[in-house]
Amino acid sequence: MNNGTTRSGPFRLRVWGDNACFTRPEMKAERVSYDVMTPSAARGVMEAILWKPGMQWRITRLDVLNPIRWASVRRNEVSAKASTHTVNFFIEEKRQQRAGLILRDVAYIIHSCIELTSEAGMTDSIVKFQEMFLRRAENGQCFTMPYLGCREFTASFELVKMKDPLPLALAETRDLGWMLHDMDFSCSPPRPRFFRAVMEEGVIQVPELESQEVRR
C-alpha cells in the first residue's frame, strides 16, 4: 500500500459532444449555459467512468478545444418533481415549454487526479484506482453514460495517454466571470462554491478546493 502519495498523477480525458448545457444557477428556469464546462460537470464525467466510496476526483485544469458556439432551443420540461413529501401528481399536467441557450459542438480536455477519502479501506490504494481508471477509460467502460450538464446531452470520451501530444486548445483569452466550482457537501444543506474563471489561450486553471480563490 502506498502511504506516501495521497494523490495520483494527472489523467487527461478528451470529452466531446454535440450539445452541452452547463446551466447557470441564477438562470435555471430559462436555462442559460456557462461558456465552458464547470469543474463540477467535469467531476460528473469522471465519476461516470469510475467511482468508489474510497476515492474522489479533483479537477485541476480544463482545456477548451472548440470555439464557443450557442444555440437557442425550446424544450419540453417539467415543473414539478417527486420528493418524500409529494404523494402523487400527474406529470402530464406539469409540462411546460421553456427556452434554453445551450452550447454546440463542444470538446474539452479534463485534467484530473484521484485522491483517497476517509472511507478508503485496507485494500484501497492510489495505484489501484489509477490502474482501474486507465483500463476503463481505454476500453470505453462507464457505469452510467457521462453527460455534459444535462443528462440528455451525452458525452463521448477518450483517454489522452501521457505519451500522446495534447490537442491544441482554443487560442482565446477571456475572463469568464464568477463560475460555479462545485457544491460543498460537507454542510447541510450543501452550499455552492465559486471561483473566478479566466481562460488563457483556451486553458482554465481550476484552483484547489481549500485555496483562497474558491469562495464559499
Partner: protein
C-alpha cells in the same frame, strides 16, 4: 457573465452621469397627480400625460422603488394604484380598506415623526381625513378611473411637477434608508460580484420586454418545484447579493425603458446593447436594425453609407479596429419569466465588421424608389405571412440576429421560410411575391454559405449576371422573359404566368417549361411590333443556349437562385434608359 456585464454597466453609469438614478428610486410613468395644499386640502388633479405618437402616455417620474407584490397586501411609498392610495374599490374585492390602511402605515413607518417634511405632513393629513368625495366629484375623475394607472402627490406650491416623494428632505431620507438597509439573514457569497452580501430572495421585475406581462418578468426566478435544488427555496438557489441585484435590474430596466435608445426589437426578442465604455456605437446600433418608418429616411442611409465610405475618405475614425467590449442581449418573454434568446459578447470592431458584411451580402439591384439598405425588421417581416410582425417565427428572428452579429451563415430555415412565402402568395404589383426584401435575403443566404463553407461555385450577384450558367438562375431568367413576352402581347393583363405557374416552374421545371415555351410562340405571334419580337427571341435564345435540359426537380438552393434570376431579369427590363446608356458606355470603355 450576463448579470456581471449588466452590473458593470450600471456602475459605469452611476459614476459618470449627473442624472444617474439616485439610490432607492426608479422610473415610473404616471398619468395623473393629486395636487394638495399645505394643510392637505385637495386642490385638484393634474393631467401629466404627453402625446406619444397617437396615444397619450403618462410622464416618466422618479419614484421610490416599488415593492414586489403578487397576492399579498404591500404598499409602495407615496405612490400606488387607486385602490391603495384612495381606497377606491375597482373590482369589488373588499380588501380596499386594508390596502388603504397599509398605504398610510407604510408612510408612517418611513417617517416616524411628523415635522420631517411639510409635504409628508400634508399627505398624511389628507389621507387621514379620509374624505375623498371632492376627488370623486372632480371632472377628471372618470378619466382617471378609465386609465387605472398609478397616482402620486404634488404640493401646489412646489415648482413644476415635483412630486412629494421628490422633495429634498424626503429624498434625502429615502436615500439614507436605502443605504443602510441591514438586510435579513446572514451574508453569502454573491455569484455576480464575488463579495459577501445579503442574499436577495425575490428579484425586481424586469419591465419593458415586448409581449411579457405588464407587471414584468424575472430572469432569475425559481417559481416551480423543479427548479429548486438542495432544499433551497426561491432566491437561495442562486445567491445574488443586494448590490448586484439592484445594479443589474436597474441597468436592465433602464435599457428597456420606453425612451431608451439602446434597444431594438428583433422578432419576438427585445434586444438591448451597450458598450463597456461610453461609445458612439451605442447610438448608431439601433439605426441599423430599426425600420426607418416606411419611407427612406435620409439620416439612416447616410449613416450606413458613412460606414462604407469612412475608410476611404478618412472622415470618421475607423471603427473596425475598435477593441472596446460590446454586449448584445436578446430577451424574450415566457409568462412571468424572461428567457435569454441570445447573448453576444465581443468588440465594437467585430460588430461593425459583421454589420458591414451583412449589408454587403444583402445588396441587390433594385428599383429607383426602393431604399438602398433594408433594416432587419423589413427583412424578417418579408418572411411572415400577411407581412405581420407577430407572424415572424421567433426562433428565426433570434437565429438571424445571432448570425449577423457573429458573422455566421444564416439559418437554413430562413431560405425555406422565404421561398414558401414566395410560392404561397398571390402576386400583384403592390405586393410582389418575389419582392426586393425576399430576394435580398435569398441572395444573402446563398452568398454567405458559399463564403463560409468555401464552395467554389459561382454564386448569384447583385444584378443581372449574363454569364451565370446555374440552371436555377437561368430558368428564373427564362421565366421572367416569358412573362414579359406575355405582358407585351396582351397589355393590361390581370394574371400572368407568374400567378399560375410560378410555384410549379420553380420546383418542377421539366413539367412546366415545355408548355410555357409553346405558349410563348402564340404570344409572339400576337405581338404587334416586329422589333419587340426579334428582341425577345434573341433573349430567349441567349438563355436557352446555356441550358442543357430542363431538370425534373430543383433543390432549395436552386429554387432560391430561380427567384433571384427572375428578379434580376425583371429589374433589367425596367431599368431606365439613362441607366442602360450608362451601362453600355461602361462596357464599351
Amino acid at each position: 457573465m450576463i448579470l456581471q456585464a449588466l452590473h458593470q454597466y450600471f456602475q459605469r453609469k452611476q459614476s459618470s452621469e449627473e442624472n444617474a438614478l439616485p439610490r432607492g428610486y426608479q422610473k415610473k410613468s404616471l398619468s395623473f397627480v393629486i395636487v394638495l395644499d399645505e394643510q392637505g386640502q385637495f386642490c385638484g388633479f393634474r393631467d401629466c400625460r404627453e402625446l406619444l405618437g397617437k396615444k397619450k402616455a403618462g410622464r416618466v417620474f422618479l419614484v421610490p422603488r416599488e415593492v414586489k407584490r403578487s397576492s399579498g397586501i404591500k404598499a409602495n411609498l407615496l405612490w400606488d394604484n387607486l385602490e391603495y392610495v384612495l381606497g377606491y374599490d375597482m373590482k369589488q374585492s373588499g380588501k380596499s380598506a386594508d390596502k388603504h390602511a397599509e398605504f398610510i402605515a407604510t408612510i408612517r413607518r418611513f417617517f416616524e415623526r411628523p415635522g420631517i417634511d411639510m409635504g409628508i405632513d400634508a399627505v398624511l393629513a389628507f389621507l387621514e381625513r379620509g374624505d375623498f368625495a371632492m376627488l370623486f366629484a372632480d371632472a377628471l375623475w372618470p378619466e382617471i378611473v378609465k386609465d387605472n394607472g398609478f397616482i402620486s402627490f404634488h404640493l401646489a406650491q412646489d415648482r413644476g411637477l415635483t412630486l412629494v416623494s421628490d422633495r429634498d428632505r424626503v429624498r434625502a431620507r429615502i436615500e439614507e434608508k436605502a443605504q443602510v438597509d441591514p438586510g435579513e439573514g446572514e451574508k453569502v457569497r454573491c455569484l455576480v460580484t464575488g463579495n459577501m452580501d445579503y442574499p436577495v430572495n425575490l428579484h425586481t421585475a424586469i419591465k419593458g420586454v415586448y409581449g411579457a406581462q405588464s407587471s414584468g418578468g424575472n430572469i432569475v426566478s425559481f417559481n416551480c418545484a423543479a427548479f429548486e435544488s438542495y432544499e433551497k427555496t426561491q432566491g437561495g438557489n442562486a445567491p445574488v447579493g443586494k448590490e448586484a441585484e439592484y445594479g443589474y435590474t436597474t441597468a436592465l430596466n433602464n435599457l428597456l425603458g420606453r425612451d431608451s435608445t439602446q434597444r431594438v426589437q428583433v422578432g419576438d426578442a427585445s434586444t438591448v446593447f451597450w458598450a463597456a465604455q461610453s461609445h458612439v456605437m451605442e447610438g448608431y446600433f439601433a439605426q441599423f436594425f430599426n425600420d426607418s418608418g416606411g419611407d427612406e429616411s435620409e439620416q439612416d442611409n447616410e449613416l450606413i453609407k458613412a460606414l462604407y465610405t469612412a475608410p476611404h475618405t478618412g472622415k470618421e475614425p475607423v471603427m473596425e479596429e475598435d477593441m472596446t467590449p460590446f454586449y448584445i442581449l436578446g430577451l424574450s418573454p415566457n409568462a412571468a419569466r424572461i428567457a435569454i434568446r441570445f447573448w453576444y459578447e465581443g468588440t465594437v470592431g467585430e460588430t461593425v465588421r459583421h454589420i458591414k458584411q451583412h449589408f454587403a451580402d444583402c445588396r441587390v439591384a433594385h428599383g429607383p424608389r426602393e431604399p438602398g439598405y433594408l433594416s432587419i425588421f423589413r427583412l424578417l417581416v418579408s418572411t411572415a405571412s400577411l407581412g405581420k410582425s407577430e407572424n415572424i417565427n421567433p426562433n428565426l428572428a433570434g437565429a438571424m440576429a445571432r448570425a449577423i452579429f457573429l458573422g455566421l451563415p444564416y439559418p437554413r430555415s430562413l431560405l425555406s421560410a422565404v421561398l414558401s412565402r414566395v410560392k404561397a402568395e398571390q402576386a400583384n404589383d403592390k405586393w410582389p411575391n418575389v419582392s426586393y426584401a425576399r430576394v435580398s435575403l435569398i441572395k444573402a443566404v446563398l452568398v454567405r454559405e458559399k463564403r463560409f463553407y468555401g464552395k467554389n461555385i459561382k454564386e448569384v450577384d447583385m444584378s443581372l449576371d449574363k454569364t451565370n450558367d446555374n440552371p436555377g438562375y437561368l430558368l428564373g431568367r427564362l421565366f421572367a422573359v416569358l412573362e414579359k413576352i406575355q405582358e407585351d402581347a396582351n397589355p393590361g393583363l390581370n394574371a400572368t404566368i407568374r400567378d399560375r405557374f410560378y410555384g410549379a416552374a420553380s420546383a418542377t421545371p421539366a413539367a412546366v417549361f415545355p408548355r410555357l415555351l409553346k405558349l410563348k410562340n402564340h404570344h409572339l405571334a400576337k405581338m404587334e411590333q416586329a422589333s419587340w419580337v426579334t428582341a425577345h427571341e434573341k433573349r430567349v435564345g441567349e438563355i436557352m443556349e446555356k441550358l442543357e435540359k430542363f431538370p425534373n426537380h430543383l433543390g432549395l438552393d436552386d429554387q432560391g437562385r430561380f427567384a433571384v434570376g427572375y428578379y434580376h431579369q425583371r429589374n433589367d427590363f425596367y431599368k431606365s434608359k439613362e441607366a442602360r446608356e450608362r451601362e453600355n458606355e461602361q462596357e464599351n470603355n
